[in-house]
């Protein structure tokens, strides 16, 4: 499982909860606002619409009261008084009701004129006219119809007709006709109060238009009709003509008419959308501010941890020298952690340097011990040879030998140093060879070949001499002249020393045993070779090596390989 960083752990759940919280807040604010603003607006519009309806109902109520009063008056009047009595009654009514244009009554059976106000035409009427036939068919209701004759200068009119039973003589049953001026009541609601596109429509139960305030159409449009037919009565929000409307539809009491009021509610939609924008912006700002704060806080917590983590990563890559920040800024826990870490690192450094110096001491003593394994018999034998020369009077040879021996020891000791310049080491081998050559009576020859440019290098001292000693001791045949060749040269990143003899050589088995013995402390074969091998490994590490190439009856070549970079150092 992939582990998650502290910063992410800190940020993700917090940010998520915050986003959920903000989203919940925004959504609930939105729904609360839009529902309450819609409710309030709808309630207000409903009240306004109901007020309009109430105005109309009280208007029609007064219309019907007039009709009922006529009915009562007519049923009480003497038959002989009908024409004059009703006529003057009508005139009186018209005085109080300026909205009445004409009032007249006709005989229900024939349509003959019975009575009317002073302005009425006194003509008989056609029984088949709508207002007349509807009244005689439905004798109990007030019938509202369009006027049969238009009045000049009056925009909206209608006719009320009503069957008037005459209790005393049903032959005198009559039909009342009142023409009304509808304009004044219509004017009480101007389209402006309904907003842009708002309209007010009165229509019959068959959806025939009585009145519409829609200036674009004198009748219910298909769209309006579909909307009011769907609603019938009640209220609802509708969208058409690119506007939002509150539609209120109702019956007008005591008429078979209905009214539909479309009130523009664009302001509501605008208020809601404006609120949505504002709350959206507020939400955005909140989120931005919160995220910034969150990042700052998270950084202040995680940065010191991160730094600590980086330092620890350095330790993983074995760099114990990690520079410790004396004081990391951060929360108390992190400072404490850092402090402990610093203490721990200090302790580790102490411990490692102790171990390193111990190792160094150990190495030095090992090196010394190994160098000291140089055969002491060589000195005695050489001194014996010098004595013998002096006895024989070979003073010049004795002197040469003493000089060579002196040089040999000077380099061997090298003021106690382990590392000496490469030419010195070569010189050391030469002196050794000179001494041995003199001792063994020039029974072998030798050549030393050092590639130019090697003078600057340093090597562990006394690595050639033991190998030369081996060559002389084991490598030379008695029956032919031996030859020992020493070469030093560069080979890539390495410096190589070759000690070649033309002696007996070794079997491959012997070579294998020798190589195995290098790393095996229980084997004590080839002490010199192993000694050299161990010393160069101690000093130069894994890159240094000793190679053996041997062929029986042909000779042996030992190659010492040391890295150049190691050979540039000369401090111990």
């Amino acid at each position: 499982m992939k582990s998650v960083s502290t910063k992410k752990k800190l940020i993700i759940p917090t940010l998520f909860s915050f986003l959920v919280m903000v989203a919940t807040m925004i959504l609930s604010a939105f729904f609360l606002f839009s529902s309450s603003v819609t409710t309030i607006t709808n309630d207000q519009t409903l009240v306004a619409s109901q007020q309009v309806l109430t105005n109309y109902e009280s208007y029609f109520d007064s219309v019907i009261t007039v009709s009922n009063n006529v009915l009562g008056t007519y049923s009480n009047i003497k038959s002989s008084d009908i024409e004059s009595g009703m006529g003057s009654y009508f005139n009186t009514v018209e005085t109080f009701k300026p909205e009445i244009l004409r009032m007249s009554i006709y005989k229900a059976s024939t349509g003959a004129f019975l009575s009317g106000d002073t302005l009425s035409s006194k003509n008989n009427v056609d029984k088949n006219e709508t207002w007349f036939s509807n009244a005689t068919t439905n004798t109990l209701i007030n019938v509202f119809s369009p006027v049969s004759t238009a009045y000049p200068n009056v925009q909206y009119t209608f006719t009320l007709s009503k069957y008037l039973p005459y209790d005393k003589d049903s032959d005198l049953d009559a039909v009342l006709k009142i023409d009304y001026d509808f304009s004044k009541i219509v004017d009480t609601i101007s389209p402006a109060t309904l907003g842009e596109g708002g309209r007010f429509i009165i229509y019959t139960k068959d959806y025939q238009t009585i009145y519409t305030s829609n200036s674009k159409s004198s009748v219910l449009t298909t769209e309006e009709k579909a909307l009011v037919q769907k609603l019938v009565i009640g209220s609802t929000g509708v969208n058409f003509d690119g506007h939002r409307f509150y539609l209120y539809a109702a019956t007008i009491t005591n008429t078979s008419w209905r009214v539909a009021i479309f009130t523009n509610q664009d302001a509501l939609a605008l208020a809601i959308s404006r609120f949505t924008w504002i709350i959206g912006l507020v939400g955005l700002v909140l989120v931005v501010v919160f995220v910034s704060i969150l990042l700052l806080v998270a950084d202040s917590i995680t940065k010191p941890i991160k730094r600590l983590q980086n330092e620890m990563a350095e330790i993983e890559s074995l760099n114990y020298q990690t520079s410790l920040q004396p004081e990391i800024q951060g929360s108390a826990e992190v400072v404490e952690l850092n402090h402990s870490f610093n203490q721990m690192m200090g302790r580790i450094t102490e411990l490692t340097s102790a171990i390193v110096s111990e190792k160094e001491e150990q190495r030095k003593s090992e090196l010394k011990a190994l160098q000291n394994q140089i055969n002491p018999h060589f000195l005695y034998n050489t001194l014996d040879s010098i004595i013998a020369m002096i006895d024989k009077g070979e003073n010049a040879r004795a002197e040469d030998m003493i000089v060579a021996l002196s040089k040999f020891f000077r380099i061997s000791i090298s003021k106690g140093r382990n590392i000496i310049p490469l030419p010195n080491e070569i010189e050391h081998a030469r002196n050794y060879l000179l001494i041995q050559k003199m001792r063994f009576g020039d029974s072998f020859s030798f050549t030393i070949n050092v590639a130019p440019g090697l003078e600057k290098y340093y090597v562990v001292k006394l690595i050639l001499q033991p190998l030369v000693e081996n060559s002389i001791g084991h490598g030379l045949k008695e029956d032919e002249e031996g030859h020992i060749a020493i070469r030093a040269y560069e080979d890539g990143d390495f410096i190589k020393f070759e000690i070649q003899d033309n002696g007996f050589g070794m079997t491959p088995t012997k070579v294998d045993e020798l190589v195995k013995s290098f790393n095996d402390d229980t084997v004590y074969q080839g002490v010199g070779l192993k000694n050299v091998y161990q010393r160069i490994r101690i000093y130069y590490g894994d890159k240094a090596d000793v190679l053996i190439h041997s062929e029986e009856d042909v000779g042996t070549t030992i190659t010492i390989v040391i890295p150049k970079e190691g050979a540039l150092r000369h401090e111990e």
């Binding site: 009562g72 209701i141 209790d167 009640g234 019956t251 009491t253 005591n254 008429t255 078979s256 209905r258």
Partner: protein, 339 residues
């Protein structure tokens, strides 16, 4: 014991849950005014029938059609509403209510306020709308029959004590209900026409007055037009008849021991309300026509069962209930003091 208690509790809560989830069918009853005596008694009879059959909710419009429209709309929005039983404020609103109810396919049974025949013309209405009410023309006719019974026939009238001026004509006064109300016009018209055209009396109407169905108004009206020439008083309902009686009882007569109808004139009402019945018993009200609330309620109930359960509508006795299409008229009955 404890285990049983647990089981019972689980069972009970499960039942409660079922009860909550199961939608209850609801009959919505609309009345135009909660103070109207007759409508009150009709409602009482109907609710008695409904108990145990269907849950109901009563809405009173207090004489405002706007209120009733709103009540209807919210009733139709309630998915539990299965039927509307409707006494409209304004019978001209019936068409709108039918159209609205059709949207949610909720049938309507109208009562007391009669829709226009054209309102039931649509396919849906002819299957789902009914009307139950009295027949005001029959009530008017029955009022005339009561007068005929009192007078003992047109031939006996001219020699009876009731023809005060011995002219062979009946001088009639009428107390009318509400102007333009169907019952007012129908009852007023048919009591007179039955008396003159069917029963052959000579009838002269001397006074008519609208009293809005109200006792106190009738009392005042009586005061203004009372005169000794009146030989018969028809009132469109009992309350107004009682109003007239209230006024007459304040007068003193020369023959205080004679029956009330002879001291003044016979007074005939409609409805047979409790007060009317008491007046009939007391002899002040000569007779009344029973507007049979109980029977109307039971016809409404029959129609509800028909609409809701598809139960067949019973065949009614033609002297009690007259069906005419989806209009069911419950006939009135003569109520007189048992002799």
């Amino acid at each position: 014991m404890k285990n049983n208690l647990c089981k019972t509790l689980v069972l009970l809560s499960a039942l409660a849950l079922c009860a909550c989830q199961k939608p209850v069918s609801l009959a919505q009853i609309f009345i135009y005014d909660s103070t109207d005596t007759f409508i009150g008694s009709l409602k009482g009879n109907l609710l008695k029938n409904l108990d145990g059959y269907i849950a109901y909710n009563v809405n009173s419009a207090e004489r405002k059609q706007t209120t009733q429209n709103e009540q209807t709309i919210s009733a139709l929005e309630d998915s539990r509403t299965k039927i509307l039983v409707m006494n409209t404020v304004d019978r001209l609103s019936s068409s709108a209510l039918i159209e609205k109810a059709e949207k949610t396919d909720v049938p309507i049974i109208f009562f007391n306020r009669e829709p226009l025949p054209t309102d039931f013309a649509s396919d849906w209405a002819s299957k789902n709308c009914y009307y139950v009410g009295s027949d005001p023309s029959v009530e008017g006719k029955l009022q005339a029959r009561i007068a005929d019974q009192i007078f003992g026939g047109k031939d006996a009238f001219s020699s009876s004590i009731y023809d005060k001026n011995n002219d062979g004509w009946i001088q009639v006064a009428i107390l009318k209900g509400e102007q333009g109300h169907q019952d007012t016009e129908q009852r007023s018209r048919y009591c007179v026409s039955e008396l003159s055209k069917t029963l052959g009396y000579n009838v002269q109407i001397v006074s008519t007055a609208y009293c809005n169905w109200e006792r106190s108004v009738a009392r005042e009206m009586m005061k203004t037009f009372y005169n000794s020439s009146i030989e018969l008083l028809f009132a469109n309902n009992d309350d107004m008849a009682l109003g007239a009686i209230d006024y007459l009882q304040t007068l003193s007569t020369s023959t205080p021991s004679a029956p009330f109808s002879q001291q003044f004139f016979p007074i005939i009402g409609v409805d047979d309300t409790a007060a009317g019945q008491a007046a009939v018993e007391a002899g002040t009200l000569s007779g009344t026509v029973l507007n049979n609330a109980e029977r109307q309620a039971s016809v409404i109930f029959d129609l509800m069962k028909h609409v809701l359960d598809g139960k067949e509508i019973p065949h009614y006795d033609a002297s009690q209930v007259v069906p005419n299409g989806n209009f069911y008229h419950v006939l009135g009955e003569i109520i007189r003091k048992a002799s």
